[in-house]
């Protein structure tokens, strides 16, 4: 009898213990799932915010007139708009510049079209090694063969699309001529100008002078009224806000 009672109480104790363990496990699972749920919600919210604030704009409507200056810079602005000035210093071969164009190029076009800014493109050759230096020189020289502003902007965008790797020879003259025809470059001597790389010297001179006078650390550099915007230039919504603030 007493043995049976002992056994029974041992069994009961064991059962109670199992029950306690089960309850604890359940509580643990609930806490775990709640925690994971909270993390997922927070991650989702942050992702949404991040994607939204960095989303690129669509180019809507007609672009502002584009005018090529004799010494090299290219101005995109509505007639009479002289401020604020957004200077874009970039290199056709520079991958970060391609990323800038992909991300914020449309915002710059829109701001110019809205008459909110005067955008000035300065194409440079920042590289001093091969194959990047020659790639950059060929592309920049070819772009200078375009004489019409609207055509230049299309060609400029196409060159960024076609940017070669930094480790390989690219921007070959045949391609440069073909891409020009593709985007509708019409100048009669465009092809010979590209093939002979006629503008390399002029481009190099302009590039060296701009890098020296602006003390550019590298490309891309986007300046708003002479002040570098840093990584803000890579965030379309922040870029737009900065330019609109400067226009006030």
């Amino acid at each position: 009898m007493s043995k049976r009672a002992r056994e029974a109480s041992a069994k009961a104790r064991a059962a109670a213990q199992r029950e306690a363990v089960r309850k604890q496990e359940q509580r643990k699972r609930t806490t775990m799932l709640t925690t994971i749920g909270v993390i997922v919600v927070v991650a989702g919210a942050v992702t949404w915010w991040s994607v939204r604030q960095s989303a690129s704009e669509e180019v809507t409507g007609a672009l502002a007139p584009v005018e090529i200056q004799p010494d090299g810079p290219v101005v995109m602005a509505r007639p009479g708009v002289t401020a604020p000035v957004v200077d874009v210093y970039e290199d056709y071969q520079c991958p970060a510049c391609k990323q800038l164009e992909l991300t914020s190029g449309s915002t710059l076009k829109n701001l110019a079209a809205e008459g909110k800014a005067k955008v000035v493109y300065h194409l440079l050759t920042i590289f001093k090694q091969e194959p990047t230096m020659s790639n950059s020189l060929r592309a920049a020289s070819a772009a200078r063969c375009v004489t019409d502003g609207a055509q230049w902007l299309k060609y400029h965008d196409r060159l960024y699309q076609e940017q070669p790797s930094e480790t390989s020879v690219g921007f070959g003259v045949d391609d440069l001529v073909r891409w020009g025809r593709d985007v509708g470059v019409t100048g009669a001597d465009f092809e010979s100008c590209v093939r002979d790389q006629k503008n390399v010297a002029a481009h190099q001179q302009y590039s060296a002078q701009v890098i020296a006078t602006q003390k550019l650390p590298g490309t891309p550099t986007v300046m708003l009224d002479g002040q570098s915007l840093g990584t803000t230039a890579f965030v379309p919504s922040a870029l737009r806000e900065a330019v609109l603030d400067a226009a006030k």
Partner: protein, 191 residues
């Protein structure tokens, strides 16, 4: 089984070792967690720059690089916070460790291929060493150190001051001796 009376003086140093080890975990969590958080926080404001950095490794196709560039800062921030809090400590440390392995592979491969991973393009105007790839070795050593932290945390989670302990999420696999409060476990395996 040793008598408890004689076991007592033996247990004390053991206990202090266990305590010290759990503090090591806390330190590892703070080092790895704060670093990940800061790395993510710097990048999250300008995801396009982060995308560019991923593309620069030339390891992933563009679409995947875009996803990684956007997602990486978010993952870094969340895992960083979790490690600092000591919440879901072991899985967080596993993710942190996997990130470090990925970084080490990426950096080594970029180094081997002679790529420069910059957030811009620089001329390197003929200065000494400008053509070399400065910093790769330090980045690798740094990430190896972080990987060690992650490995330690996975080995001995969650350490002192961990929410896992407060919430009762700390695992039951460590049969630590009766170490008392937070960092231990139900001790079901001890006898």
């Amino acid at each position: 089984m040793v008598q408890l009376a004689s076991g007592r003086p033996v247990l004390s140093p053991l206990r202090s070792v266990v305590t010290a080890l759990s503090w090591v975990t806390t330190v590892a969590r703070l080092v790895l967690g704060v670093s990940l958080f800061v790395a993510g926080a710097i990048k999250i404001g300008a995801p396009a720059v982060s995308v560019q950095a991923v593309k620069a490794y030339e390891l992933l196709p563009d679409t995947l690089a875009t996803v990684v560039g956007h997602g990486l800062p978010i993952v870094e921030i969340i895992v960083g916070i979790l490690l600092v809090l000591g919440l879901l400590t072991r899985p967080s440390a596993v993710v942190g460790g996997v990130l470090m392995v990925a970084f080490i592979v990426g950096i080594s491969s970029a180094w081997a291929r002679g790529l420069r991973i910059d957030c811009g393009c620089f001329g390197g105007g003929g200065t000494v060493g400008a053509d070399q790839d400065p910093g790769y070795i330090w980045e690798l050593l740094r990430d190896a150190g972080f990987l060690l932290c992650a490995a330690w945390i996975v080995y001995k989670p969650p350490g002192r001051f961990a929410m896992d302990s407060a919430l009762g999420l700390a695992g039951s696999r460590e049969p630590g001796p009766a170490d008392g409060d937070e960092d231990d476990e139900d001790g079901s395996d001890t006898d």
